[in-house]
């Protein structure tokens, strides 16, 4: 709710209550005033009109010596009655005269004369006369009355007035009060709304707009607010703050760039020797070794692999946390990708005597659009984790799309559950399971190894993909991690499995004797890469810097170049650019970058320099094969040429 609406929602009830109370008070005051006035008029009518009419005639009779002349007295009393009748028509009040001694009504302007009960009446002296007045109920009707005695004629004179008119008048006052109150509330609300808009909301909106610009641009802003109040002061503060933010952002960006550069360097510097270790271990395992030597070489390779995993995790987390992790959306066969993963991870599961089961729903003949790399990493992390903590059990991967896919691309939700029958997680540790460097038990690290970053990375990747990871677990029974992600999906006619089979077939049919120029300054890495390429039946020629590589390419006879990025004399980037500047077909020779830098944006910059693909160190035979396979068709053309 907007602040103006909130203020009005608060103000209007307060105003309504305030105005209603004021109105009620005004009504009560008016009520008392009107009643007072009515009683005043009634008693004045009695004393100044009725009793004067009577008294005047009596005085006249006395002055004329006719007081005791019955005919005159009666005549004048009749005159009084006639005058009261006229007065009744003029004032709409009723008059009654009763004989006190006989207790009989001698005159009344009403058809049914009823003398009101004066027991509860108020007694007052008005114009030297004692008058009783009040309200009474006569024949189910409320009346106001005033009465007084006229002793000389032994009369009790009463003036009556229906309370209907008074009540009607009071009702009118009540209505008017209500209407005026409502009108006042509306007017005051409008005025307050306008005042609030001008003096509060509008400045706040300007400040908010400025804050939004700051959030987006991180630039210094100028707020058009000339008020000299708190909001004006706030605007000046925001302006000052935006200036500081601009500075801080610039500094942070600089620091981030420094961090990125550092990570890139570290990535390269760590991966390069690690690449050598892994490659050499692999090569070593392919030689004639005693059992003991084979075990050592195998352990060496495993240790290097674990170290590579740790480094990858740390780098991945760094990338995510620095905001450098981008969503690279592609369309792919999710079902096939998961099947591949099951196959890939099945070896680990078997080693742990664990069965890996995969089930899917709404996934057949469906192309999913998402970041395949991140999805794969999430699943690998979760499944690897499940396998690690499940001994002689079952890890079940269930994948489904929430909505059945249509022929056209539509938004969908991917749900993948990884359920294991492992050791489970203590309830009090569940909430920390996704924290970095956290495992359910420190002893786990000792027993099962790992950095404790896998789940944290998986969760953050899932969030980047618009989803999340939830976990339920029971100690001794196992855990279930459920990944959700926003994806797009569509139904495809062509079987993606067929497509994958074709691709595998293509990979399998990688031609032999491809002439590969390997440009690598690190001798160990060069040995490893050359050995792996030779496993792929490639004819490898090695140079140790970019200049030599470019020169060799210019000489001709090279089908593809594996170009290390960081090399002395001339780096891989410059060498690639030089190759692309060669004449004719030589400029089109595929160049595959070899780099220990894991950051994607660096890969992009390499490709912008002319490289066709990037293979990240430590290189594996699979990665080299996949990269060559991507270029296989082109290569085939080159070969044909």
């Amino acid at each position: 709710m907007r602040i103006k609406s909130k203020l009005l929602v608060i103000y209007i009830p307060i105003l309504l209550i305030g105005m209603a109370l004021t109105g009620y008070w005004a009504y009560l005051t008016a009520y008392d005033s009107v009643r007072e006035r009515e009683y005043q008029l009634l008693t004045q009518t009695l004393t100044l009109n009725v009793l004067e009419i009577i008294d005047e005639r009596r005085e006249l009779l006395i002055e004329s010596g006719l007081e005791n002349v019955p005919v005159f007295r009666e005549a004048y009393q009749k005159e009084v009655f006639e005058e009261l009748k006229s007065l009744q028509q003029a004032t709409d009040r009723h008059f009654a005269i009763s004989d006190k001694s006989a207790d009989t009504v001698v005159f009344s302007t009403m058809e049914h004369t009823v003398v009101p009960n004066v027991e509860d009446a108020t007694i007052a002296t008005i114009a030297s006369r004692k008058v009783a007045f009040g309200e009474s109920n006569i024949n189910d009707a409320d009346v106001l009355f005033a009465c007084a005695e006229f002793a000389p004629w032994n009369w009790k004179v009463t003036v009556l007035q229906p309370a209907d008119a008074l009540q009607s008048f009071l009702s009118t006052i009540a209505w008017l009060t209500s209407l005026v109150t409502l009108f006042a509330v509306v007017i005051v609300s409008l005025l307050m709304g306008r005042v609030t808009q001008v003096f509060v909301v509008s400045p706040i909106e300007k400040i908010k707009s400025a804050a939004s610009r700051i959030a987006v641009d991180h630039k210094k802003v100028s707020i058009d607010l000339q008020q000299n109040d708190e909001l004006g002061s706030l605007a000046r503060d925001v302006e000052a703050m935006s200036g500081e933010i601009e500075q801080y952002v610039a500094q942070a960006q600089q620091a981030n760039r420094a961090k990125t550069d550092f990570l890139a360097v570290m990535s390269h510097e760590i991966r390069t020797p690690l690449n050598g270790i892994q490659g050499l271990a692999t090569l070593l395992l392919d030689t004639q070794l005693s059992d003991k030597q084979h075990q050592y070489a195998s352990d060496l390779k495993s240790s290097a692999s674990i170290l590579a995993t740790v480094i990858n995790d740390v780098l991945d987390l760094s990338k995510i946390e620095s905001g450098m992790s981008e969503v690279d959306v592609t369309e792919f066969d999710l079902d096939a990708m998961l099947n591949d993963l099951i196959t890939l991870l099945g070896t680990n599961a078997s080693a742990n005597s664990t069965r890996l089961v995969y089930k899917s729903k709404n996934m057949e003949s469906v192309a999913v659009t998402s970041d395949i790399t991140k999805l794969r990493q999430i699943i690998i992390n979760l499944v690897s984790n499940a396998i690690k903590f499940t001994h002689k059990g079952t890890v079940t991967i269930s994948a489904k799309l929430k909505q059945p896919s249509q022929d056209t691309v539509s938004e969908n939700h991917l749900i993948i559950a990884v359920k294991d029958t492992g050791i489970g997680i203590e309830p009090d540790r569940l909430e920390h399971i996704f924290d970095k460097f956290t495992q359910s038990d420190s002893s786990i690290t000792r027993k099962y190894g790992g950095t404790g970053l896998g789940l944290a990375i998986a969760k953050q990747l899932a969030q980047i993909l618009g989803g999340d990871i939830k976990v339920v677990s029971k100690v001794g029974e196992g855990s279930c991690f459920t990944v959700t992600a926003k994806v797009q999906s569509r139904r495809v006619v062509e079987s993606s499995a067929d497509s994958d089979s074709a691709r595998q077939a293509e990979r399998a049919s990688l031609p032999e004797g491809i002439k590969v120029l390997l440009a690598e300054d690190n001798a160990i890495n060069a040995v490893v890469a050359q050995a792996l390429l030779e496993q792929l039946k490639c004819d490898v020629e090695h140079v140790d810097n970019g200049l030599k590589a470019a020169a060799r390419v210019e000489e001709g006879g090279i089908d593809v170049v594996f170009m290390d990025v960081h090399m002395p004399v001339m780096d891989g980037i410059e060498a690639t650019k030089r190759i692309r500047k060669l004449d004719g077909e030589l400029s089109k020779i595929p160049v595959i970058g070899l780099t220990a830098e894991a950051f994607k944006e660096r890969h992009v910059s390499f490709k912008e320099a002319g490289m066709d693909d990037i293979v990240t160190k430590p290189v594996t035979v699979e990665a080299l094969q996949e990269s060559l396979s991507k270029l296989a068709l082109n290569q085939e053309v080159t070969d044909n040429s």
């Binding site: 005047e56 006249l60 002055e63 006719l66 002349v69 005919v71 005159f72 005549a75 004048y76």
Partner: protein, 340 residues
């Protein structure tokens, strides 16, 4: 030396005479012609003279009064005689006959004339209507209340008693002009009043004091003959109403009481109700008009109208006797003219 003293004495005398002449009051000659010296006439004249002297203190007012002895003929004779004398500054006529003669006189057309105590100036041909001016250099006021108002008042009294039948009222009058005029007006209006039945009881007007006695006897005889028909009588204006002891005599002779009278004295004697102009009011009002004329405002420019001050008088003894309670508003109007 003697011549010198004589010359000085002569000069001093001349100076004193001149000074006294310079401070002497202007003398105004007025002639008052009254119809006959009945109380209303005589009293009105007296009040007139007193008021005029009071409001014109800077003038020496010489008033010469003449009595027409109730005779129009005599009034004309007096006027003829007066025509032989230098014209006065103002001629004032009192009552109808003297006024009629003065208005008809050709000798005094150019002399400003003022009348008072005339009940019907329109009927007398002085003006065409109340509020109009006279072409014969005469002005004045009618001292009598409108006949309809009088009947309304009497009707009010009778209605208050809630009578079961009509009140038959004898209109006692003479053929004296103002008297008969009033009766004619009353009779003309009679049909408009549900409680009143008016019956004319008339006697010929006879001039002179003897005539007044004759008229009284005559009217008593007429009333005696109609006693059984009448519930009371109305004493019309004119000389007959001014007859001394008329009410008493009628009461003694017939037992009838007057219900309405045109003079305070009649109410004092027993008339139930009277609405009259008192002589003091008549005289004073006429004096104010006379002052205007004597201060050179033409009588031709002063309209003839009715007096604006009347006196209500009631007799409560009569009311009690007749069991006719007088309404309180009349009693209140009567103030000091409530008689027992």
């Amino acid at each position: 030396m003697t011549k010198v003293w004589f010359s000085l004495l002569l000069a001093l005398s001349s100076l004193m005479w001149g000074a006294s002449a310079a401070f002497a009051k202007e003398t105004l000659d007025l002639i008052v012609l009254e119809t006959l010296p009945v109380p209303i006439v005589a009293d009105s004249r007296t009040e007139f003279e007193k008021e005029l002297a009071r409001i014109m203190p800077d003038h020496e007012i010489n008033v010469t009064s003449y009595n027409a002895e109730g005779s129009e003929v005599r009034a004309k004779e007096i006027l003829t005689e007066l025509a032989q004398n230098p014209a006065p500054d103002l001629i004032v006529s009192v009552a109808t006959l003297a006024t009629r003669a003065l208005n008809a006189s050709e000798e005094f057309v150019d002399v400003p004339k003022l009348f008072m105590a005339v009940s019907a100036p329109v009927e007398e041909g002085i003006v065409s209507a109340i509020g109009a001016v006279s072409e014969r250099n005469m002005t004045g006021e009618s001292h009598v209340l409108d006949a309809k108002v009088k009947l309304d008042m009497l009707e009010g009294v009778l209605r208050a008693s809630k009578p079961s039948s009509l009140f038959t009222i004898g209109l006692v009058h003479s053929t004296y002009p103002s008297s008969s005029n009033l009766v004619n007006q009353l009779l003309a209006l009679n049909d408009d009043y549900e409680n009143i039945n008016l019956v004319a009881v008339s006697t010929p007007y006879i001039e002179g004091d003897d005539g007044l006695v004759e008229m009284t006897d005559s009217i008593i005889n007429s009333l005696q003959q109609k006693t059984n028909e009448l519930d009371g009588y109305w004493l019309s204006s004119g000389p007959l109403a001014e007859s001394n002891g008329l009410v008493t005599k009628v009461k003694e002779a017939t037992g009838l009481l007057p219900l309405f009278a045109e003079s305070i004295s009649s109410v004092k004697e027993g008339a139930l109700l009277g609405v009259v102009s008192e002589p003091a009011s008549i005289g004073k009002s006429a004096a104010r008009k006379a002052k205007l004329i004597l201060e050179k405002k033409s009588a031709r420019d002063i309209p003839v109208d009715k007096m604006d001050t009347y006196t209500v008088a009631v007799n409560v003894s009569t009311a009690i006797k007749l069991q006719l309670p007088i309404p309180s508003n009349y009693l209140k109007l009567s103030k000091k003219h409530v008689y027992q």
